[in-house]
Symmetry: C2
C-alpha cells in the first residue's frame, strides 16, 4: 500500500470558532458612518431598530475584536462546520503546475452555500428578541433558501420576496424554500404599497433586487412581529462569515502551509470577507504576508471600476447611504448567470479595506469563469456555483502564473457554494448561448453622475 496523498484537512466539531473576528478592532482607520437617507446625518441605532434586533445593531457598530458565538448558533453550525478544506490535487495535476491549490468548501452547508453562516445567527438573535417572522428578498435564491432553513431550525415564519424573473426561471430554488416551510412571493407583489405602485405602472414588471428589498423592508417596518434580514453588505453579516477564515487559518496550519495568495468572488462581499478578514488581521499583525484578492465579474466591476463614495444600497433609494465602491445605485448590471454577483455596490467593510490598500481586486469575464468551473468539476467532482467560478478562474490564473515562472505558490480560495441549482447556466454555457460583456463604461458613468453629493 502506498501512502495516501492528503486531500481534506478537517477539524473536529469542538474547533468551531468560539467567537467571530471583528476586524473593526484592528483597522488602521475607522470606517465612514452610514447616513440617514433623509437627513444625510450619521445613522443612530434607533434608526435601525424597526428592522433589526438590538443585538445585531450592536454588532453592526461594535469595535470589540472578538464577538462570542452563542452556544445555540455553534450547535447549529455543527451540522456542517467546521467546513472541509481541500487540496485540489487532481486540479493541480490537470494544470501541471508547481502551485499548491487549496479550497475551503462552503457548499457543504445544507442550503449549499456560505449564506447559512449568517442566516443562522440572524434567526437566533431575532428569535431571542421575540421576532415571530423574518422577511427578506432573494435574487438567485442562495440567501432566501438559507434564511428559510434557519427559520425552520428556530421555529419562525419566513417571508421571501423573490425577484419575479428568478421566481419564474428558478422553480427549484423556490421549491427548496417552500420545503423548508417559507412563504415565497414573486416581487413586485400586490402585498405591499411599493409592489402595488410598481405593478400599476408596469403590470409586466420582471422585478429587481431593489424592488424586492423595498417590499421586504416595508412589511418589516409595518409589522412589530416581523423583522428584516439581509444576506450581505452589512458589517454584522461580514462578521458572521469570519468563521470561514478562522477555520481556514487552523486548517492551513494542519496542511503545514501558509497561503501566498487568497481569493474569493465578490458580489455583495460576504463570502470574500468571511475568508479574507481573519487573514487581513494576520497580515496586519505581521503573522502572514498573503496577497488577498477579490475576484469580481467584468460585467459588474464595482471594486475595479467603481467609485469609492456614498451611495444607496437599493435602486429605490430607501436604504441608508453607505460609503462603498459603487457603480451607482441606478446601474442595472447585465444579466450574467452569477446572479449573486449582480450588485451595484460592495460591502462598506470590503470597500474600506480596499481603500486602505489591504486587498487587491481583479475581474473575470463570464465565459472564462464557466470554463474554469467546468475544468474544476472534471478534476474535483464538485460542480461550483456560477459565482464561485470567478474565484476558481482567479486561482487557475495564479496557478498558471506559477507554472510560467517555474516557482511554487500556495493558493487558497473560497468555494462559496455548489451549482446544483444552477445547472441551467451550465446548459446555456455548453450550448454556446452565453456571452462576455464589455465594461459598461457609459452606463456606469451616468449612474455615478446621478449620486447625491455628500460633503
Amino acid at each position: 500500500m502506498l501512502p495516501m496523498e492528503k486531500i481534506q484537512f478537517n477539524l473536529p466539531q469542538d474547533r468551531i470558532p468560539l467567537a467571530w473576528y471583528n476586524i473593526a478592532a484592528d483597522l488602521p482607520k475607522p470606517m465612514a458612518p452610514p447616513l440617514h437617507p433623509g437627513t444625510l446625518k450619521p445613522l443612530g441605532p434607533d434608526d435601525l431598530a424597526p428592522l433589526f434586533p438590538m443585538s445585531l445593531i450592536e454588532q453592526e457598530v461594535s469595535t470589540e475584536r472578538e464577538i462570542e458565538i452563542p452556544d445555540e448558533v455553534r450547535q447549529v453550525y455543527a451540522q456542517w462546520r467546521p467546513s472541509p478544506l481541500y487540496r485540489a490535487r487532481r486540479l493541480e495535476k490537470a494544470l501541471d503546475t508547481p502551485a499548491h491549490i487549496y479550497y475551503k468548501n462552503e457548499g457543504v452547508s445544507p442550503a449549499g452555500s456560505h449564506k447559512p453562516n449568517t442566516a443562522v445567527p440572524q434567526a437566533f438573535y431575532n428569535k431571542q428578541a421575540g421576532t415571530k417572522r423574518l422577511s427578506t428578498e432573494t435574487g438567485a435564491g442562495q440567501w432566501g433558501s438559507s434564511l428559510a432553513m434557519a427559520c425552520a431550525f428556530f421555529d419562525m415564519e419566513c417571508k421571501v420576496y423573490m425577484v419575479r424573473v428568478s421566481y419564474d426561471q428558478k422553480p427549484y430554488r423556490r421549491a427548496l424554500m417552500e420545503t423548508y416551510g417559507a412563504s415565497v412571493t414573486a416581487s413586485p407583489s400586490v402585498e405591499t404599497e411599493v409592489g402595488r405602485a410598481i405593478l400599476a405602472a408596469h403590470p409586466d414588471s420582471n422585478g429587481s433586487l431593489g424592488i424586492a428589498i423595498s417590499e421586504a423592508v416595508e412589511i418589516a417596518a409595518k409589522d412589530p412581529n416581523t423583522k428584516y434580514a439581509l444576506g450581505s453588505v452589512l458589517n454584522h453579516v461580514m462578521l458572521h462569515q469570519t468563521v470561514i477564515g478562522l477555520e481556514a487559518i487552523e486548517q492551513m496550519a494542519l496542511a503545514g502551509e501558509e497561503p501566498d495568495v487568497i481569493m474569493a468572488c465578490t458580489g455583495g462581499g460576504s463570502n470574500f470577507a468571511g475568508l479574507a478578514m481573519p487573514y487581513i488581521g494576520r497580515n496586519l499583525k505581521g503573522l502572514s504576508h498573503a496577497r488577498i484578492v477579490a475576484v469580481e465579474p467584468s460585467a459588474c466591476p464595482s471594486l475595479t471600476k467603481g467609485q469609492f463614495t456614498y451611495d444607496f444600497g437599493d435602486t429605490g433609494r430607501l436604504t441608508p447611504l453607505v460609503k462603498m465602491h459603487t457603480l451607482g445605485s441606478a446601474f442595472m448590471p447585465p444579466g450574467i448567470h452569477a446572479g449573486g454577483l449582480r450588485y451595484h455596490g460592495m460591502a462598506p467593510l470590503v470597500s474600506h479595506v480596499m481603500d486602505l490598500g489591504l486587498i487587491e481586486a481583479t475581474s473575470v469575464q463570464q465565459l472564462d469563469a464557466f470554463a474554469a468551473g467546468i475544468q474544476f468539476a472534471r478534476a474535483e467532482g464538485i460542480v461550483p456555483a456560477p459565482e464561485s467560478n470567478h474565484a476558481i478562474a482567479g486561482a487557475i490564473y495564479e496557478a498558471l502564473e506559477a507554472k510560467r515562472e517555474g516557482k511554487p505558490r500556495t493558493i487558497l480560495f473560497n468555494l462559496s457554494g455548489h451549482g446544483n441549482f444552477d445547472m441551467q447556466s451550465y446548459i446555456n454555457y455548453q450550448a454556446g448561448l452565453l456571452e462576455n460583456y464589455d465594461y459598461p463604461a457609459e452606463e456606469i458613468a451616468m449612474a455615478l453622475a446621478g449620486l447625491p453629493v455628500i460633503l
Copy 2:
C-alpha cells in the same frame, strides 16, 4: 459556554477502509449461480468477458472475505470519504422520541449519492484493463452522473443512454453528466440495432431502463474498446458499497452506541447492501444483534411481495437469469418519483440474505415517504433524494414506536443521496399532485406467471 451536543461522528482520511467486505465468505449457504439466458446453464467468467474486465468478474464470484481497495481508488474516495455519520438531534426533538437516530450521509459525494462508491472502482479497473470507453444506462440519473464523474477522474470516455422520459424531464441531471464530459443520448436511439428496432415500431417511445440497458450492452459487446458498467444488482457493486457499513461500524463506536435497528431504502439494493452487509457479518459473528430492515416503495415491493426465483435483469430478456426477489421482468412499476427504486427485481445478494432470514423488509407509500422527507429537511436542513425518503420514513416509524413504548432505541439509517436534482418531485408533492399506489397484485401475478421455469 455550554458543552456542545455532538452532531457529527467523523473519521480521518486514513480510516477509509483498506478492503471491501465480501459477505460471500461468511454466508451460511452459498448463492444460486447466475444462468446463461440461452442455455440456462450456470454462467462462466468467459460469458461476461465481453462486458466487464476480468478483475471485476473475479470480484463477482469471489469468496474471499476481504478484497483490497486499490490505492488509486482510496485516493479518489478521499474526496468525500469517510462520509459523515450524523446524529439527528433536531429530528429527535421534533419527534419527541427517546430513540437516538443516526444517519450515514452518502449525499456528500460530489455526484450527490452513494453511487460513486462503485463508479470509481469500476472506472479504475477498466482503465487498468485498457478500456477506452464505458457505456451505461441511467434512469433517474444518479448512476449516470456518478459514472460520468468517475470517467472524468480516470480520463476515459463515458457514454450514457438515458431513458427518454428522464432525458426530457430532467435536463439538469443530463447537464451534470455533460459537465463531467459524458456523452448522453436519449434512449431508444438510432445508434443501436435495439434502439432502431424499437423506434421503427414505436417512434414516440418514452424508453425504459430495460431498453437503455440493451443499448448500452449492445455497444459494449460490439466495440472492443468499450466495456459496460452497471450501478446496482451485481455482487461486485454490492461489494464496493460496503465502505458505507465498514465506516459506520467504526463511527457508531465513536458515538458509543450499537444500533438496534438499521435501515436503508431498496431499489436494486446497493445502498442497502452497502450499509447492511458489514452489519450482517457482525450479527453472524454474534458481535451485534441489530434488526436490519430494507425499506421499499409500496408501488414496487419486490422483497415484501415478490417471488424468490430466477428472472432476467432486464425487460428485453437479454441479460443472464439470476435468482432474486422479483415482481417479474415484464412488470412495469408505477411512475413514482423515487425513480431509483423502480426496478422489478432485487440484487441476488440482498435477496439471498432475505431468504436466509438475515434481514427484514417493509414497504412505504409515496406520500408517507415525502412527508417524512420534508420533516427531515426542516429538522436537519438536508433535502433528501426521494429514494432516501423511504429510509427516513422507516426510521421515523421506529422512533415513534420507541416513543409509544417509552423505551430508548438506537436507529441507524442510510441517507443515500440528496434531492437537489429532484426538486420537481417536491414541487409536485407540495402541490398535491402525487398519489399512493395500491399493491398492483394482478399485474405482478401476470408478470410472474410469464417467467421461464428453472428446474
